[in-house]
């Protein structure tokens, strides 16, 4: 059979696609896989933005969240998120909410919750797609006005469409968002409530108030009056740079020569180091960066990465701090014991990161089943994909028996324990765009394990002190318990009256009952062990034919 061959010309009807169209069609990539998760994602994007803005403006955040049912189908909700943050200047409002990949955070190397400029505008897109309704934004940017916008997003152009616009006088600052979406409201795991609770645990400097669709009100009140340190912006570190990026930087730099390009656009490269790097690469440091060829760039990158440079600066990070990790767990989990650790910053692929771990024990924690894990990346709770996450892997790789917990082979430890793990970084390596799990870089796993071990040791000390105390009490009662029979037997053997022996015995117990030399105790245990090994041997032999005793 002969196929008719078409010419390539006929197939050339290719055309450009907007990024908004792409994500509209692929909304599951952004966390809009199903109704339940979509509702959570919308709330999360708004709350995360509010927290970022407050922290950047150095304001202690107070955030109000409300979810109301709309209509009778049960799958329509109105979401209201209001904060006391700095607000948004009028001219930026449309594009922040109505354009994907628009934001202040994409090119910055500094820790923040949002990174892509995609989150809140994707929520607007989702609202519009599922209910056709515009999103309403109230912004009070301390300019004496409240700016009110109703916005759509034109997907073909990836540009905002303003439905209505007004400015009324209004004091103070803050932002309020109202949107209507299709969704599903649930409680329990992976719910809005769980997200807010976990947010409150790791961000104890914020107050969250939540009114749920049934009218129930939840308040998570601030326990710390101090914001985490402000994150500073840094230059990239040579270790994390790829060849393509370096070539582009060389082409676009305002620097006149290679040396100043290196010292100005990278962190930890001083004049001397820049000279050394150019030497190793065999390129004149005075050359104009734009004239560096691909092959030279390759040599340059090699030299940059082989040069011994300091780790990148870490003031781009904003950890919560040991005290806050502790206070957050204490106030929301109400345990008997808490230990927290903030590790010193470390680096993966040239990117600084920092791990914080909190371990809570007892109190209101469930004592049955596996421990509770709270995972956070840049202060945001991670609610999905627990098993794929570096945090879970690090917990599984830790020997929890050492710290006094039960742990079956290869499984999670069990007991009344909650572990919170926070990764702070300028660039969190998520395993997918849904921001649900941290990728398993060895450096990250190692740091998490170190932090867990430090906190775990504290837990272990607490538990073994508790155990020791329990043992001492137990000990005294055991010696007392058997004394009566012992005295009676000794009396029968010796003929001395019970009452008299009793007196000596009680004296002995009072003096020595609680202070037996530990070393001695140990030695004796060894021989007891040996004895029981013998018993075991005899039993093994007896298995041969039950009922036969060797020589009893």
């Amino acid at each position: 059979m002969v196929e008719k061959e078409l010419t390539a010309e006929k197939m050339a009807a290719a055309k450009e696609v907007s990024v908004a169209e792409f994500f509209e069609k692929n909304k599951h990539l952004l966390g809009y896989e199903n109704l339940q998760k979509s509702l959570l994602t919308c709330i999360k994007e708004a709350v995360d933005n509010s927290l970022d803005a407050c922290e950047e403006a150095r304001i202690l955040p107070t955030i109000y969240v409300e979810i109301k049912r709309v209509g009778e189908t049960g799958d329509r909700f109105k979401l209201i998120i209001e904060d006391n943050g700095p607000g948004i200047v009028k001219k930026n409002i449309p594009r922040i909410f109505g354009k994907l990949l628009y934001g202040s955070k994409f090119h910055r190397l500094k820790q923040s919750r949002g990174q892509q400029g995609i989150g809140i505008s994707a929520a607007v897109l989702y609202a519009q797609l599922t209910t056709g309704r515009p999103t309403k934004v109230y912004s009070r940017p301390s300019d004496g006005f409240t700016h009110i916008f109703e916005l759509h997003l034109n997907t073909q152009k990836n540009e905002p469409e303003i439905v209505s616009e007004a400015s009324v006088t209004g004091e103070g600052h803050g932002t309020r968002i109202e949107m209507e979406i299709k969704g599903k409201y649930t409680r329990g795991k992976q719910s809005v409530l769980e997200y807010l609770l976990e947010t409150a645990i790791l961000n104890p400097y914020c107050t969250l108030i939540f009114l749920d669709p049934d009218g129930e009100k939840f308040e998570f009140t601030r326990a710390v009056d101090k914001l985490p340190p402000e994150a500073k912006e840094i230059q990239p570190h040579p270790e994390g740079i790829e060849l393509g990026i370096l070539i582009r930087m060389l082409k676009n730099t305002p620097a006149r020569n290679l040396r100043s390009f290196l010292t100005n656009e990278f962190s930890r490269v001083g004049g001397t180091k820049a000279g050394e790097i150019c030497d190793v690469a065999g390129i004149d440091p005075k050359v104009n960066p734009t004239t560096v060829t691909r092959d030279e760039a390759e040599k340059l990158l090699d030299a940059m990465q082989k040069a011994k440079l300091q780790n990148p600066p870490t003031d781009c990070l904003s950890p919560v701090g040991q005290e806050s990790v502790e206070k957050g767990l204490k106030k929301e989990v109400q345990p008997e014991f808490v230990a927290a650790i903030t590790r010193p910053p470390s680096v993966y692929s040239g990117r600084p990161f920092q791990i914080e771990v909190g371990i809570a024990y007892g109190g209101k924690l469930e004592s049955e089943g596996a421990i509770q894990i709270y995972r956070f990346a840049n202060k945001m709770p991670l609610l999905y994909d627990q098993s794929a996450c570096a945090v879970t892997k690090a917990i599984l790789q830790t020997d929890w028996k050492r710290y006094g917990l039960n742990q079956s082979n290869g499984g999670l430890p069990s007991g009344p324990v909650a572990v919170s793990v926070h990764l702070a970084s300028v660039w969190v390596p998520y395993t997918s765009e849904g921001k649900e799990a941290i990728a398993s870089y060895p450096e990250i796993i190692k740091e998490i394990k170190l932090a867990i071990q430090e906190a775990g040791r504290k837990l272990g000390m607490f538990l073994s002190a508790r155990h020791r105390e329990h043992m001492l009490r137990e000990k005294a009662s055991i010696f007392q318990r058997y004394a009566e029979d012992l005295v009676a037997s000794v009396s029968n053997l010796t003929g001395k009256p019970v009452a008299e022996i009793q007196v000596s015995m009680q004296k002995l117990l009072d003096n020595k009952g609680l202070v037996v030399d530990e070393e001695e105790e140990k030695k004796e245990e060894v021989s007891e062990e040996e004895e029981s090994a013998d018993t075991k041997r005899r039993k093994e032999y007896a298995q041969r034919d039950a009922g036969e005793e060797e020589d009893l």
Binding site: D485, L486, K512, E531, L552
Partner: protein, 369 residues
């Protein structure tokens, strides 16, 4: 009962038991943690005496004290058992170790805890007491459950009754747990040897065929690992009648170990070896080489299981299994990977064991020593 001798033994034992209590009392009154030293009955504290060809207990002791969490209860139990044994001897009764368990079991004060929960707890304490005060189980007026029967060319006196073991029909005489001279006396024996059989079915075949009459011997079985009574009786036969003991067991590591226990003693009762082990005892079969020697068909062999192999390798390492012939025997068994039960001989005819196997082995002196 030979009461004069018995009474003097009883008196001495009571004295020793009381000493245990007196020592504890002394320490309690001195404000010290009371302690008993118990000779260790473990592999690490026995050695094989090449000269005497016996397993002997060493000098290592375990200390058991009251003010020690892991030992407090057992210390109390030891005193409790000692006290009960004293009462037993005083009233002149003999009882089973199970009985003693029930006699000493009671709840402690107002708690839910018992002095003993299982007989497995009290039995080792009895052994501890025996070895500590160097006294026999029997002298404590205790016995374990009995096993084993006897027929043959001998007349016994058991508790005053005269028993002609040539006239016990198919059943034979049940061997009691306590066979000390004070209870059992030998009279009128023409037997030239004792044949100790592991299994009662084979014993029965031999008795039915009147093997003991034809070959002029005493026929004993211990139903598996022979209990103390049987071992002690064998020992007395060897020592008092000066006749050899032949041991006839399954061809597997357990059978060979039974032979070793009879001949050399056991780890657990190493302190009794002198009174129970019979270094002249002879292993008459089944040998791993018997299959070829007597052309037994392959299908009577049974594959060694994991436990068998484990046990074989374990006893291969015992110092008292180092004789080249024993090692050869065991290694050949492992190499072939099969075992043979005594009943396997029936393949060659119902009375093959009586008419051919045993007479040949004895005549040719084909045994392992």
């Amino acid at each position: 009962m030979a009461s004069a001798e018995k009474e003097s033994i009883d008196k001495a034992v009571i004295e020793k038991i009381e000493n245990v209590g007196r020592n504890a009392l002394k320490e309690i009154e001195a404000g010290k943690n009371p302690e008993i030293q118990i000779p260790l009955r473990t592999l690490s504290n026995v050695h094989y005496d090449e000269k005497e060809r016996l397993i002997k207990i060493g000098n290592a002791v375990q200390k058991r004290s009251y003010l020690n969490l892991g030992q407090a209860k057992r210390f109390m139990q030891t005193m409790l058992i000692a006290s009960a044994c004293k009462d037993l001897i005083k009233t002149g009764k003999t009882t089973s170790i199970r009985d003693l368990f029930y006699m000493t079991k009671h709840s402690i004060g107002n708690t839910q805890e018992n002095t003993f929960d299982e007989q497995e707890e009290s039995d080792p304490i009895i052994e501890d007491l025996e070895v500590t005060i160097d006294t026999l189980r029997e002298e404590l007026h205790l016995f374990a459950s009995n096993r084993g029967s006897l027929v043959g060319n001998i007349t016994l006196v058991d508790s005053g009754d005269t028993i002609d073991c040539r006239k016990l029909g198919s059943g034979g005489w049940s061997i009691p747990s306590i066979v000390e001279k004070s209870i059992i006396q030998f009279k009128d024996s023409e037997a030239k040897f004792v044949l100790m059989v592991e299994k009662d079915a084979v014993w029965r075949r031999l008795n039915e065929d009147k093997f003991w009459k034809k070959h002029n011997c005493i026929l004993i079985h211990g139903q598996g690992v022979p209990p103390r009574g049987v071992r002690r009786l064998l020992w007395r036969f060897e020592n008092e009648l000066k006749i050899p003991i032949y041991v006839f067991v399954d061809n597997d590591p357990w059978g060979l170990y039974i032979y070793s226990v009879i001949k050399q003693g056991s780890i657990n009762l190493a302190y009794e070896s002198k009174r129970m082990a019979i270094p002249t005892a002879k292993f008459i079969g089944l040998s791993s080489y018997d299959q070829e020697r007597y052309q037994l068909p392959k299908d009577v062999t049974i594959k060694l299981n994991e436990e068998d192999k484990k046990r074989a390798n374990q006893i291969l390492g015992y110092p008292w299994f180092q004789k080249p012939a024993w090692q050869k025997e065991l290694r050949y068994m492992l190499e072939k990977g099969v075992k043979l039960e005594l009943e396997a001989l029936s393949k060659k005819g119902i009375s093959f064991v009586t008419d051919v196997y045993l007479p040949e082995k004895i005549a040719k002196k084909e045994w392992l020593e």
